[in-house]
């Protein structure tokens, strides 16, 4: 007879006995797949430390150096620090605005009664189904009509406005706010707190994990985003972000792999760090947007 430990997809709290070969097979598969995830990234780093002639050779660099980094640091246009700061600025702005605008809207949807609340919320969720690319033509026309494609700082504003608040942020925060006991805000209301104070002093301090998840997911999404920067920053070199820079340099460098890999490393490491330290929020954020939805 099969034991419970054999059948349960999750054996938390279930005594783990036998099934040794299956366990061994599981480890083998998992390790193989994990290697498939990591080897390419390790290989990128190794290549970025090489010289051009040895780039394609399999093996470690004869004399590892940071020449490729030095090259992209100062001798490309825009330089690596500039690309980095552009990505950082845009990602930070989008992340902060999603937290602020998203949490205000989520508070209203979770706690305040106003006419049309349910319908408006459904419409917000429905926007998740609309592909970004479908909006390309009209959104560009709208921004163009507003004069937001003509001069430098307004190009930036165009991308920011498109990304400033996403339905996912509102949805995630609302779900979390609904889980906070209402007694807490009622107590605050009895003490004379207004709606904004309740939001600010009661809900926000309790919603740390959800706010962190939104901030991190939006930061990561914007940092990696290629589509809207490609649309609005194309002709404006000084605004290029790392992903768009990578794509452009790929055309310029062709087979000069070490500098290209150096940019790839710089584009990936900040997200990797964020991931290592805040892994929980990434995973919870992604899972929550799926399951509870």
């Amino acid at each position: 007879m099969a034991t419970l430990a054999d059948l349960a997809p999750r054996s938390v709290g279930v005594p783990k006995r036998q099934g040794g070969w299956r366990r061994g097979l599981a480890y083998l598969l998992l390790t193989a797949w994990a290697l498939l995830m990591f080897v390419p990234f390790v290989w990128t780093i190794v290549t970025s430390l090489k010289d051009r002639p040895e780039a394609m050779a399999i093996g470690l660099p004869a004399a590892p150096d940071l020449d490729a980094y030095a090259h992209v640091w100062s001798r490309v246009d825009p330089t690596l620090p500039q690309l980095f700061l552009n990505s950082l600025g845009l990602a930070a702005a989008v992340s902060i605005s999603n937290v602020i605008l998203g949490s205000l809207a989520a508070y209203a949807f979770a706690r305040l009664r106003f006419p049309g609340r349910e319908i408006i919320f459904l419409v917000v969720l429905a926007t998740l189904m609309i592909p970004d690319q479908l909006r390309l033509v009209p959104v560009y026309q709208i921004m163009n009509g507003l004069g937001f494609t003509k001069s430098n700082p307004t190009n930036y504003l165009s991308v920011f406005l498109v990304l400033a608040v996403s339905a996912t942020s509102i949805f995630l925060l609302r779900q979390y706010f609904l889980g906070i006991p209402r007694d807490l805000d009622e107590a605050a209301r009895i003490d004379g707190a207004g709606h904004f104070q309740t939001y600010w002093k009661v809900i926000l301090p309790l919603a740390g994990p959800a706010l962190a998840a939104v901030a991190i997911l939006q930061f990561q999404g914007t940092w990696n985003g290629l589509f809207w920067p490609a649309i609005f920053f194309g002709p404006v070199r000084e605004h290029w972000t790392l992903p768009f820079g990578i794509v452009q340099f790929q055309g310029i460098y062709q087979t000069d792999w070490p500098p290209l890999m150096a940019i790839v490393v710089v584009a990936t490491v900040p997200i990797l760090c964020l991931y290592v330290f805040f892994q929980r929020y990434f995973i919870e954020g992604i899972a929550a947007s799926g399951v509870k939805g």
């Binding site: 099969a2 938390v12 290989w43 990128t44 949805f171 584009a267 990936t268 991931y275 992604i286």
Partner: protein, 309 residues
């Protein structure tokens, strides 16, 4: 209007239910005001606008003339659209979606066996999903060079290959599809993992008493109970596959080189847009939306369920 009046009166009649309600409504609407203006303009109005634009000969200087369905007719007669963009997109969706789902489910079930290092494996599998597509695709192009790591590894297993995988018409699309499966299976795994946590243990206890083995418990209990997750993952995955842009654009440029082998519907839309054929590009977008909506409806039929969002 009445809301602001009652809001002002609220100061005089503090505690009155009606004024309290009015005040709450005003605050509520104020809290959602900025996001709603953005959604209204950049999403809802945008879609209607795209629809309108698609009926015009609309170039860089704006609408020139109303052309009715001409853009759509032109689109359906466009060789690249009909013989490349649509087949490529459908082929990609038909292969990538089941592959992502199967792999995501397999990874989730294996990771969920209560093994040591579960957190590590989960994190490792999800990592490619969080790296930027630009970085991943450039890295992938490097690995798939004729002298690259992939051919070297193939040679190690006795398969001699000089293929420039992402740069030959026959292999470019399948390579990019493999890349997509590689990067996104981690996300699908997370969705499945979360759903697996919701399955009650008692079911497995009952199955164990009935003498079921692991394999039949998986097919008779786990798999059917994951139905909502299958639906969600399928929808997310189809939307992602139909909108595939980044990888095709980075690997094949705006033209989906080589020989349009990487031209997807969305890349085709981008091509038309960057050629200032805005009316035509808008028509491509509308066709894409129709396709997306019909596939979602078909999935709903297939899985017999409505999306809960």
């Amino acid at each position: 209007m009445s809301a602001s009046v009652t809001g002002a009166r609220g100061r005089d009649f503090r505690g009155s239910l009606r004024t309290e309600r009015g005040h709450e409504a005003v605050v509520g609407l104020a809290f959602i005001a900025i996001p709603m203006v953005l959604f209204l303009v950049l999403q809802i109005f945008a879609i209607g606008y795209a629809f309108v634009i698609s009926f015009f000969d609309w170039g860089i200087r704006g609408a020139r003339e109303f052309v009715g369905l001409a853009n759509y007719q032109e689109l359906l007669a466009d060789r690249v659209f009909i013989t490349k963009a649509i087949p490529n997109t459908l082929f990609l969706t038909a292969v990538v979606v089941p592959a992502q789902m199967a792999l995501g489910l397999a990874l989730a079930v294996i990771v969920n066996q209560g093994i040591r290092g579960q957190t590590f494996f989960r994190a490792a599998f999800f990592f490619p999903s969080i790296a930027s597509s630009a970085a991943i695709v450039v890295l992938f192009t490097f690995l798939t060079q004729p002298q690259g790591l992939i051919n070297t590894v193939l040679g190690f297993f006795g398969i001699e290959s000089n293929t420039n995988w992402t740069n030959e018409p026959g292999t470019a699309l399948p390579s990019i599809m493999a890349l997509l499966v590689w990067t996104t299976s981690g996300t699908m795994m997370l969705f499945y993992l979360a759903a697996l946590q919701g399955i009650s243990h008692e079911l497995y206890e009952a199955a164990a008493i009935d003498g079921a083995n692991w394999w039949s418990a998986f097919w008779k209990i786990t798999f059917p109970l994951l139905q909502p997750a299958h639906f969600f993952v399928a929808v997310v995955s189809v939307i992602g596959a139909l909108q595939m842009f980044d990888a095709a654009f980075i690997a094949g440029g705006k033209d989906g080189s080589p020989a349009n082998s990487l031209t997807t519907m969305v890349l085709f839309l981008y091509q038309s847009w960057s050629g200032f054929e805005f009316g035509f590009a808008a028509a491509v977008g509308i066709v894409l939306l129709v396709l997306l909506m019909s596939l979602t409806l078909i999935q709903r039929r297939f899985f017999g369920q409505t999306p809960s969002w």
